[in-house]
Symmetry: C2
Subunit: 233 residues, 2 copies
């Protein structure tokens, strides 16, 4: 998925810094899914009717289901799952506080764009870890089946009143900005995660140029998602 | 399950009043589970830690999963699922408004007692309908796997501080009262459902005495649940 595809199959969990990085990674993803559950369940209240409410609530539940696999894996690694998640609550709660939707359509765009961004971002990082953990992570981030209804709803709202498109496009840009801000904060606060990206003696990593290209890829995929929603500019 | 066990296998869905009653029954149960999802997701915010929050959120998600089977069945019967649910929103929302927990333990007791009451009540009514629908209903009300943690948490809270028991016992009584109030309102407002309980030409029903015995059974099972929680008086 990344250019160098430096899958670190050979790395043993006996390396404490590698293990710490994987625990951090599983912890941040799990907390992210719990926070997403809470936020989507909350945003479902904005739904114009019961059918839409249930559709968003179902996306919320799917996030929560994914947490179980990550918990099991954390326990296998000898970590307390909730202790592993705790250090990430501040950054992720802060993301959601700064991006509380003010209406139903903003909630839908956030559900779609936020979920996609998280999936892309963690998939990039997962390229640096062992195959088993990588597959678990990719699997736990797969919510694609639930999101078609978001595309349908947003596109038909724009078809009905093209004026809603402009503010929603700005909203999408703001979501991306807030996500990058918090991702940077998480990386800065967690040495093990940063070290994972930087590589090690027998593990390939990213230099600054590669990091830049990764952010380019994330931005491009974000733009594609906005286009799918009918929010290209 | 009821004393006369008058399973109405022979009744055809070609009887419009029977079909209307089944649509009502599936509709009220489905709406009840959606409302329970919303309420449990909200009450999860009261959790003292992340593990407890996830446990209650998981109960919320289980409610929502059950809705799918009921939706499918409503569609098979040619009904719009959300139209079938709509007439029950007022009574069920009202129940939750009147029983908003003011702390985490009240939320737990409500999750356990409310879920159990709903299951018992619908199981009683399901005794009057065809086997297929009955099994679907019983299946969709089975959340037992998630509720052991409630018993553990409530019992250990009382063990730690016996003074919390008294108010929680009162709370349980209030939940029962509110549930009966709303159940009565639902029955009074929906002739098809009342007619189902009253029976018909080729369908057995309940007379007033049988209705009284049913309420006795519900009350007894409620008392057993309170006892399981350590809240007997």
């Amino acid at each position: 998925m990344t250019e160098s595809s430096p899958a670190a199959e050979g790395v043993a969990f006996s390396d404490p810094s590698y293990r710490a990085a994987v625990v951090d990674l599983l912890g941040v993803i799990a907390y992210g899914e719990i926070a997403a559950f809470e936020r989507l369940a909350e945003d479902a209240k904005l739904a114009p009717d019961l059918a839409d409410k249930v559709a968003l609530a179902t996306m919320a539940s799917a996030e929560l289901t994914n947490v179980n696999k990550l918990r099991d894996r954390l326990e296998e690694l000898g970590a307390d799952p909730f202790e592993a998640m705790a250090p990430f609550s501040k950054a992720l709660d802060s993301f959601h506080e700064h991006t509380a939707p003010s209406n139903w359509l903003e909630g839908l765009v956030k559900a779609y764009v936020g979920d996609g961004l998280a999936r892309d971002f963690y998939a990039e990082i997962a390229a640096f870890i062992d195959v088993d953990t990588r597959e678990l992570i990719l699997d736990s981030l797969d919510n694609a089946t639930h999101s078609q209804f978001v595309v349908d709803r947003v596109r038909s709202a724009i078809a009905e009143d093209p004026r809603v498109g402009g503010p929603l496009a700005l909203w999408g840009r703001r979501l991306m900005g807030e996500a990058l801000t918090q991702a940077q904060r998480v990386a800065a606060d967690h040495d093990a995660l940063s070290a994972l990206l930087a590589g090690g003696v027998d593990r390939p990593g990213m230099d600054l140029a590669a990091l830049g290209r990764m952010f380019n890829r994330l931005t491009e995929r974000h733009a594609l998602r906005m286009e799918e929603l009918g929010l290209a500019h």
